[in-house]
Symmetry: C2
Subunit: 245 residues, 2 copies
């Protein structure tokens, strides 16, 4: 089975200039993991047409799924639609359904050019309608165009996510009170026997309970359980504080 | 004056798999901004030799300053030094000073191969000694190799940062209780008169105080103050909740 690989492009000067902390990529990382989709790369880039065009084209070619976050509002710095269109070599056009939604939203008031900017899509894009949400999600090729505002991005992703569900990872965790350098050889020995195991080792400073968190993962439940038992047997007595999973 | 542009490469499967939230890039973004360094791109990539090599080489060529975070510990998944060496086409060697530091740290105990891994550097790298910290920072070409553990990364960056100080940005903020689409035309008008202004517009949902935060920035204090006055004059009466800066 082909394993889905995803990339995230976060678009926004406010993140690169330290004014806003990006929480969208961490949210998407957790959600994709739960769905069994492997996140391969996150790029945070400025509100720059060429940069958006180049980065989105590269991600579009490299990954099965691409999510963009940010740059889809009504102001001068909202240039994601134009950037993606340039990257894919298509025109920017207004979508009649989005125009209609904007008219509904304004409740009779005449839309200005800033409002109408939000009806723009890359030509050929499709609209994914979410019954429970006011506005649809714009999708072109393998690219899902999401807003930067975390609440709306999350609503849209939850409405979309069923389509990405593949097969999940199985995770076991070991907490060690020995430091990394003291147990590194046991990790290497485990990897020799279980080369396909995804094994992470994360030291924690200033924690009274444990010094290193070890994560063992695989899409094969039996494999990760055998690797877990193997590593537990290798680790020195008393070194394991607790386990999870 | 040439403006320093920086890139950050965050290395770690734990971030892409949603197990850990990266706080290092947000910390560095804020710090670099205060120093007047423009952050151009953040990439979050997996613990993969080719990916590290390719990404670091690209950043090394494109940006004045490159910071890497993560992958410098003693375990199997700590391959940043090897990846950077591959990217720059140099060998991995042990540095005698780092070996000495590790011996000191172990206080007479014999180092194992996991310990000694932490003495490795890309050949030709220099060590930046911080009097107040136990271990130096490894620098090769324009690349500063920082650890993934936030506390240590922050200590090292604070010890280094004087060398990056250039000239700061000046920031003014306007909080508006009108929505973005209602004020977008005033932003565009201001940008026509002040094309070099960095103007950000950030809607906030569910905030009783304001609906949009507008940030005006420039390295020229006078320029940002004139643009600020210009925009204030354009905005509808009563729309400005407060200003800062």
């Amino acid at each position: 089975m082909h394993e889905l690989g995803a990339g995230i492009v976060v678009i926004g000067n406010e993140i690169l200039s330290g004014k806003t902390v990006d929480s969208n990529s961490a949210f998407l990382a957790r959600e994709l993991r739960q769905l069994g989709v492997t996140l391969k790369r996150i790029a945070v880039i400025p509100d720059d047409l060429d940069d958006i065009a180049t980065t989105v084209r590269e991600f579009h070619q490299k990954f099965d799924l691409v999510f963009t976050s940010g740059g889809v509002g009504p102001t001068h710095d909202d240039i994601t639609i134009e950037g993606i269109s340039r990257g894919l070599g298509c025109r920017v056009v207004r979508h009649p359904l989005l125009e209609k939604k904007i008219h509904e939203y304004l409740n009779g008031k005449t839309p200005n050019s800033a409002h109408l900017k939000m009806a723009e899509i890359p030509e050929g894009a499709e609209l994914l309608i979410h019954d429970e949400l006011r506005f649809p999600t714009i999708k072109i090729e393998n690219i899902y165009i999401l807003p930067g505002i975390p609440e709306i991005l999350q609503q849209k992703f939850h409405a979309l996510k069923e389509r990405f569900a593949v097969d999940p990872y199985f995770l076991k965790i070991i907490y060690s009170n020995e430091v990394e350098s003291a147990i590194a050889s046991y990790l290497n020995e485990t990897l020799e026997v279980y080369p396909d195991l995804m094994l992470g080792s994360y030291p924690k400073i200033g924690n009274s309970e444990y010094r290193v968190k070890l994560t063992l993962e695989s899409k094969n439940k039996d494999y990760v359980e055998r690797a877990f038992a193997h590593l537990l047997q290798l680790l020195p007595t008393g070194c394991v504080v607790k386990t999870e999973g």
